[in-house]
Amino acid sequence: MRPWLGWAIKLGLVGLVVLAGFAVYLDAVVQEKFSGKRWTVPAKVYARPLELFVGQKLTKSDFLQELDALGYRRESAADGPGAVSVAGNNLELHTRGFQFYESREPSQRVRVRFSGDYVAGLSQANGSSLAVARLEPMLIGGLYPAHQEDRLLIKLEQVPPYLVETLVAIEDREFFNHFGVSPKSIARAVWVNATAGQVVQGGSTLTQQLVKNFYLTNERSLIRKATEAMMAVLLELHYDKQDILEAYLNEVFLGQDGQRAVHGFGLASQYFFSQPLSELKLEQVALLVGMVKGPTYYNPRRNPERALERRNLVLDVLVEQGVITLEQAVAAKQKPLGVTQRGSMADSSFPAFLDLVKRQLREDYREEDLTEEGLRIFTSFDPILQLKAESALADSLKRLAGRKGVELVEAGMVVTNPETGEVQVLIGSRQPRYAGFNRALDAVRPIGSLIKPAIYLAALERPSQYTLTSLLEDQPFSIKGQDGQVWSPQNYDRKAHGTVYLYQGLANSYNLSSAKLGLELGVPNVLKTLERLGVTRKWPAYPSMLLGAGALTPMEVADMYQTMANGGFNTPLRGIRSVLTAEGEPLKRYPYQIQQRFDAGAIYLLQNAMQRTMREGTGRSVYSRLPSSLALAGKTGTSNDSRDSWFAGFSQDLLAVVWLGRDDNGPTPLTGATGALQVWTDFMVKADPLPLDMPLPDNVVQAWVNATSGQGSDPSCPNAVQMPYIRGSEPVPGQACGIQAPVDSVMDWVRGWLD
C-alpha cells in the first residue's frame, strides 16, 4: 500500500514538474514575442502631399480627384477628419493631419476657394488666416518581404465607435470576463458540434484566436488545442485585456491582395474603404468584423452579396445584444457596402515609380530594414500628373492606332519638375499598371537627334565664333572615320538646305549642318558637353555619335535635358524626399543638390533655339493644340529606320521625356514628331504647364537684326526682329530706317537662302 502510493505521488509530481517545465517554456515563448517586436512592418511609400496656398495652380476637379483617392467623404458639413463639403467653387474640408519630416501637419478644418484653375482663397473654417496647408499624402505602395504580410499598426484609442463592441459580440461574448479560455463557450461548442455530428462551431476566445495566429501553426489537433489554451491563459496572466485586444486588432487576417496578405483592421480599413480606421461608420465596422469569420468567403469585392448578408446579420446581432438600437440597424442596412473599386493603395498601382523608389532605397538600406521596420518613405510622386500622363499615352496610341505596326510599339515616359529636380511621373510600359520591364529606367536606346542640343550648346559657349545667326552650310559631305569607314550623313528628307542660320540647323534638326558643326567643334568636345549635361555613359568619339548613335534611357535623357531647363544647373534627379521611422522620427533626407555646369547666357541662347524648334521647326505641331502664348522648348529624336521615336521638352515647371519603340528593336511607323511628340503634346494639354520664362542673364543682350540678312538692324526698319546674343557678339546696330529705307543689298537678295 505505502510503496504503491509513494510511487504514484512521485510519478504524479514528476508529471507535474514536466507540465510546469512546459508551462515555463510556453510562458517564455508567450512573453518573448508579445513584449518584443510583435510584427515586422513593410516600409510604406507615400506620394507628395498636395500643398494648398493662395495662387496655387490647381483645378477643382483635380483637387476633388485627390480627395476621392484619399477617401474623403462628401458630406453636407465637414464635421470630422476626412470629410469634405462642396458648394460650387467653395470647399470646406477637415484634414486628417500627418507627421512629415520637418513638421507635423495638424488636422484642421480648412476652407478652399477656387477660381478658374487656381486656388483663390484659403482660410481656416473659423475665418482666421491660413498661409499654407497640406493634405495627408497618398499611400502608393510598400516594400514587402518574402511572406508579404502587410499591416498598418493602430492603437486601441484609434478605433472607431462600435468596433470593440461588435467584435466582442460576434467573436467572443465572454471576452471581458474569461481568463483566456471560456469553459462556457467550449461547452456550448461541444454541445453544438456533438449534436451536429461535425465541427461547426469553435469555442475559441479572442485570446485563443490571437495565440493561434501569433504563435502556432494552422494544424488541427488536440495537443495544439491544449497548447493554445495554456498559452491563452498565460497571455491573460501577463497582459491586460486592452493589450490583448489591441494585438488582436492588428493581427487578424482580413484579406488577400495578390501576393500581399492584408492583416489588421488598420490596413483593412484603408484597403477596402481608403479611409483611416478611426473614421469608419457603423455599417463599415459591421462589414469588417463580419469578415473575420472568412475573409475570402466574405470578400466584399468578389462576393458582395454574401458580404452584404453577413454585414446585416452582424447588425442584427448587435441589436439583439443591445449594442445598437433597431433604428440604427435599419439605417445602417440601407447603406451600400461602400468599398472602393480596388485597393487604392495596392502596390501594383504605380509599379514604375515604386521601382525607382526601391532601387534608390536599396542603395541606402538593408533589405530587412525596408521590409521590417515600418519606415515611411516620402516621395515626389504626383498622382494627378501621373494619371494625366497615363491617359495622354493611351489617347495618343489610340489616335495612332491606324498606322500599321503601332500595336507593337512600347513606351517609356519620365516627367520631372526642372526647378526642383524631382521625378513626378514614371511610365514603364504602354500598360502602366502592370509591373514588368521598366522602360523608363531600363530601355537603353539610341537617342537620335536628342543629342543635337549638346552640339549647339558646345558652339554657343564660344560666342566669339558662334551666335544663333552664324551661318552653317547644310551640304552633303563624307569623312573617313578612325575605323576607316566612310561616313556620309544625310538629312531626314534626303535634301540639302544650303546656307542656314545656326539656330535653324537645330530647330529643323538638319543632320548635315549639325554634323558639320559638331566636326568643327570636335567630337570629343561635344561628348564632353554631353557629360557636363549629366550623361555618364562613355561613348567612343565616332562622328556617328553626333547624330545620336549613342543610347540612353528615358531617365538619363531627362537628367540631360534637366540641365538645359534649369539654367545650366545640373541636378541628380530624385524620387525620394525623406524617410521617417515607424515612430515618425526623422531618419534620412535626400536633399536638393545643384551644380552649375554651363554659363547661363549660353543656356539662354540654346533655350531660344529650342523654343524656335517648337515655333517653326520639327516640334511646331504642338501649337495646333496648345496656345501660342505658352513658351515651350524641346527636341525631337528619331533613330535609324524609325526604330526609336523620342521627344524631350520642357516648360517652366514641367519637363517630359517620351520614348516609343519596339522591344525587339524593329522599325516603327513613327518619327519623333509623329509619335513621341504627340504623346508629349497630349500630356502638356492635360497638365497645363507654365510658360518657359528664363530670366535674361546679365551677359545677354537683345539685338535688332534683319531677318533676311542677319545683319544689325533697327526696330524702325522693315523685317527687323530681336535676337539674343552674348554681349559683344551681337551684330553692329543698323541705321534707323526713315521713309526712304535703304534697299537691301543685292547680294542679300541673291542669297535668299532663308526660303
Binding site: L153, E419, K588, Q611
Partner: protein, 241 residues
C-alpha cells in the same frame, strides 16, 4: 522525500519569476537599431551635422528674410528693393526670327477667362508691389518656420522646410539665399555656393540681395579653401551695392 522537492521548488520559483514580469505598455514595434546604424553610415546626407549648433551664422551679411518677430530684436531686418518687373523679370526673346507675325508672350497663362497670377511660381502678384513685399503667404510662413527650426538647431528640418518653400516659389532668390545659408551651417560649403549662385540668377535688379549673395559665396569659398575666389566674390559684393 526531500529530493523531489528540489525540482518542484525550482519550477515554482521560476514560474513565479515569470509571473512577476511587470505588465505595462508594450511597444508596438521595436525598431531595431540597424536602421539607425545605416543613418550613421550614410552620413553624406548631413546626418552627422544634425547635432551641431548652427555654427558661425553669417552675422555680417545682414540679409534676413522679413520674418516678423522671428529673430527677436537681434535679427537685422532688411528688405531688398525689387525692380518694377516681377521676379526674374527677363523677357524671353522668342519672337520668331522670320517674317511671320510677331507673337507676344505674356508671362501669364493664355486664355482670357483664366485669372492668372502673373508669376509662375505660384506667388500671387498683387498690383504693383515690389517682389519683396509680396513675400507673404506660404513662402513667408515657411521661411518663418525654417528660421525657428534653425534657431533650435534643427538644420535638417530647416533645410526641409526651405525646400518646401522652394517647391512653392522656385524662383524666389530669398528662399535660395536661406537654403544656401543653411547648407553652409550644415558644413556643405560647395552646395551653399551653388545655391547662392542660383539665387543670383534670379536677383537681377536687386543690388542689396546680390551683395548678400556674393558675400555668402565668399564665405563658402573661404570654407572650401579658395581665398582668391573669396576675395573676388567680396569685390563683386561691393560692386553690387
Amino acid at each position: 522525500m526531500i529530493k523531489w522537492l528540489i525540482p518542484a521548488l525550482t519550477a515554482s520559483v521560476v514560474l513565479g519569476g515569470c509571473a512577476s514580469v511587470p505588465r505595462g505598455s508594450i511597444p508596438v514595434v521595436d525598431s531595431s537599431s540597424s536602421v539607425y546604424g545605416q543613418q550613421q553610415a550614410g552620413a553624406g546626407d548631413y546626418g552627422t551635422s544634425t547635432a551641431q549648433p548652427p555654427q558661425s551664422q553669417p552675422q555680417d551679411s545682414g540679409v534676413v528674410v522679413m520674418v516678423p518677430g522671428a529673430g527677436g530684436s537681434s535679427a537685422p531686418i532688411q528688405t531688398f528693393p525689387a525692380p518694377g518687373s516681377p521676379i526674374g523679370g527677363g523677357v524671353v526673346g522668342s519672337e520668331p526670327f522670320s517674317t511671320a507675325p510677331v507673337i507676344s508672350e505674356p508671362a501669364g497663362g493664355g486664355s482670357s477667362s483664366v485669372p492668372p497670377p502673373s508669376m509662375p511660381s505660384g506667388i500671387p502678384s498683387s498690383g504693383g508691389l515690389a517682389a519683396d513685399e509680396q513675400l507673404d503667404g506660404p513662402v513667408l510662413a515657411l521661411l518663418t518656420t525654417a528660421q525657428q527650426q534653425q534657431g533650435s538647431g534643427d538644420l535638417n528640418g530647416a533645410a526641409s522646410s526651405l525646400e518646401r518653400a522652394q517647391r512653392i516659389a522656385p524662383r524666389e532668390p530669398q528662399v535660395l539665399y536661406r537654403l544656401a545659408e543653411v547648407r553652409l551651417a550644415q558644413g556643405d560649403a560647395a552646395q551653399a555656393e551653388q545655391f547662392a549662385r542660383r539665387g543670383l540668377s534670379y536677383a537681377s535688379g536687386r543690388p542689396a540681395l546680390q551683395a548678400s549673395l556674393w558675400n555668402l559665396i565668399a564665405q563658402a569659398r573661404e570654407r572650401q579653401g579658395d581665398s582668391a575666389g573669396a576675395a573676388q566674390a567680396r569685390e563683386r559684393a561691393k560692386v553690387s551695392l
